[in-house]
C-alpha cells in the first residue's frame, strides 16, 4: 500500500503544480541514489518520491486521484537501474581525477590501471610495513642485516651507512603478493636507532664528551678518542679548558656521496680519582702565590 503522495512530498492538497515541482526537486536532490551512492535507504525513499511526483505532476492523474478514482498504488516505476550500480566497475567514464595527484610515487597508481570494458581486476600487492631497531653504530656504519618476518621468512636488508632514525628502506617486490597476476608490493622498513651511551648525532656530525686528565689540560698531550669507526689519537693543545671543542675532520657520519661529517669532541677536565696530597699542596702554594690575581680573573669571568 503506497503512502499518500501529498504526504510523501510534504505538500498540501491544494498545492500548485509549481509547489509540487519545487517539493519534488528539493527531495530528489537530497535523495537521488546517484548523489548518495553509499546510502542504501536513499533508493527506497527516492522511489516513493518519484512515484508521488509522477502522479501529482500529471494534472489528469492528480484529478482522478483527488476524486478517489485511482489510488496511489500502481504508480511505482519499474525498478530503475541507477548509474551507481555500474559506475563502481571499470568503464569509459571511470575517473581518477579525484586522487591522481597522490598516485605518483606510491601504491595508488598501481591499484587501478585503465583496462577498458571487460578488463579483469589486476592489482599490485600491498606494501608491507616493518620496523627495525638498530644499534647506534649499526645505523652509522651500515651493513647487512637479516630480519625475520612475522610469517617466519627471512629477509636480507642492506643498511646504508649513515641511516637516520625514521629512515624508511624500500625493498622492491618484497611486500605482499599481487592480485590477478599483479606484481607484489614493496617491503617498507622503518629504521629505529637506539641511543648510544657516548655518541650523540647531530645531522652528519657526531658529538662526544671526552674526560681528560688535568695534566693534559694544562700541559697538552695525546689522548685516545672513541669514534664510530674505532679509536683515534688526538692531540690536546696546551692549556685546554673544560668545554673546549676539538674537531676530528671526517670522523662523523658517512654520507651517500662518499664524504663524511665530523666528530666534535668536547673536553671535560677530570681530577685524579683518588685524592692526591701532593697535588693539593702544589695547588695550595700556587694559589697563595697567585691569590689576588686568581680571584680577579674569576670575577671577570663571571661578569662581575
Amino acid at each position: 500500500m503506497a503512502a499518500d503522495p501529498y504526504t510523501t512530498l510534504s505538500v498540501k492538497k491544494d498545492a500548485s503544480p509549481g509547489d509540487i515541482q519545487k517539493a519534488y526537486r528539493k527531495l530528489a536532490k537530497k535523495l537521488h541514489p546517484d548523489l548518495n551512492p553509499g546510502n542504501k535507504q536513499a533508493e527506497e525513499k527516492f522511489k516513493d518520491v518519484s512515484a508521488a511526483y509522477d502522479l501529482l505532476s500529471d494534472s489528469d492523474k492528480r484529478a482522478r486521484f483527488d476524486r478517489g478514482e485511482i489510488d496511489a498504488s500502481g504508480q511505482e516505476r519499474p525498478r530503475q537501474r541507477y548509474y551507481r550500480d555500474f559506475a563502481d566497475g571499470d568503464s569509459q567514464y571511470s575517473s581518477d581525477a579525484g586522487f591522481a595527484d597522490f598516485a605518483g610515487e606510491d601504491i595508488l597508481s598501481d591499484i587501478f590501471g585503465r583496462q577498458g570494458r571487460g578488463g579483469s581486476f589486476r592489482m599490485r600487492g600491498p606494501d608491507a610495513h616493518y620496523q627495525l631497531e638498530l644499534d647506534f653504530l649499526e645505523a652509522i656504519n651500515g651493513g647487512k642485516k637479516q630480519i625475520t618476518l612475522p610469517d617466519g621468512s627471512a629477509l636480507d636488508v642492506t643498511i646504508p651507512p649513515g641511516s637516520r632514525d625514521g629512515t624508511v628502506l624500500r625493498l622492491r617486490g618484497k611486500g605482499r603478493p599481487g592480485l590477478g597476476g599483479g606484481p607484489p608490493g614493496d617491503a617498507l622498513i622503518e629504521i629505529k636507532v637506539r641511543p648510544h651511551p657516548l655518541f650523540r648525532r647531530k645531522d652528519d656530525d657526531i658529538h662526544v664528551e671526552l674526560p681528560i686528565p688535568l695534566r693534559d689540560a694544562v700541559l697538552g698531550g695525546k689522548v685516545i678518542v672513541p669514534t664510530p669507526t674505532g679509536t683515534v689519537t688526538m692531540t690536546v693543545p696546551k692549556w685546554s679548558n673544560t668545554g673546549t671543542v676539538l674537531r676530528l675532520k671526517g670522523r662523523g657520519v658517512p654520507r651517500p656521496n662518499g664524504t663524511s661529517g665530523d666528530e666534535y669532541v668536547t673536553l671535560k677536565i677530570m681530577l685524579p680519582e683518588k685524592r692526591d696530597p701532593e697535588l693539593e699542596t702544589l695547588i695550595g702554594q700556587w694559589a697563595s702565590a697567585k691569590s689576588s690575581n686568581y680571584s680577579g680573573n674569576q670575577r671577570r669571568a663571571m661578569g662581575a
Partner: protein, 93 residues
C-alpha cells in the same frame, strides 16, 4: 546494444542523444557501422534525465557527471584499500 535499442531503453529522442554524445555526456563505443551502447550508458542517460528533472541546467550537468565519476573512482580506491591495506605495521626482529 545498437543505437535504436538504446533510444528505446533510455527513452531518448535521436536529436537529444546526438546532442549528449556531442557534449561528451555519453561516450558509446564507436563501431564500424553503428555506435554500441551498454547498460551503464542507459543508467547514465537516466541519471542525466533525473538531473534535468531536478532543474539542473545543461551547464551544470557535465560538472555533476564529472564529480560523480570522480567520486566513484575514489569509492573504488577506498574499497580496495579497506580490503587489502588494513593490515597494521608488523614488527620485524
Amino acid at each position: 546494444m545498437k543505437t535504436g535499442e538504446f533510444l528505446i531503453a533510455a527513452h531518448l529522442r535521436t536529436e537529444v542523444l546526438h546532442a549528449w554524445i556531442e557534449a561528451g555526456w555519453l561516450m558509446p563505443e564507436h563501431g564500424a557501422t553503428d555506435d554500441s551502447f551498454s547498460e551503464i550508458d542507459v543508467a547514465r542517460a537516466q541519471l542525466i534525465r533525473d538531473l534535468q528533472g531536478m532543474g539542473v541546467n545543461k551547464e551544470a550537468v557535465p560538472i555533476i557527471l564529472d564529480l560523480i565519476d570522480q567520486m566513484h573512482g575514489l569509492r573504488r580506491t577506498i574499497r580496495a584499500l579497506l580490503s587489502e591495506f588494513a593490515a597494521p605495521a608488523e614488527r620485524a626482529h
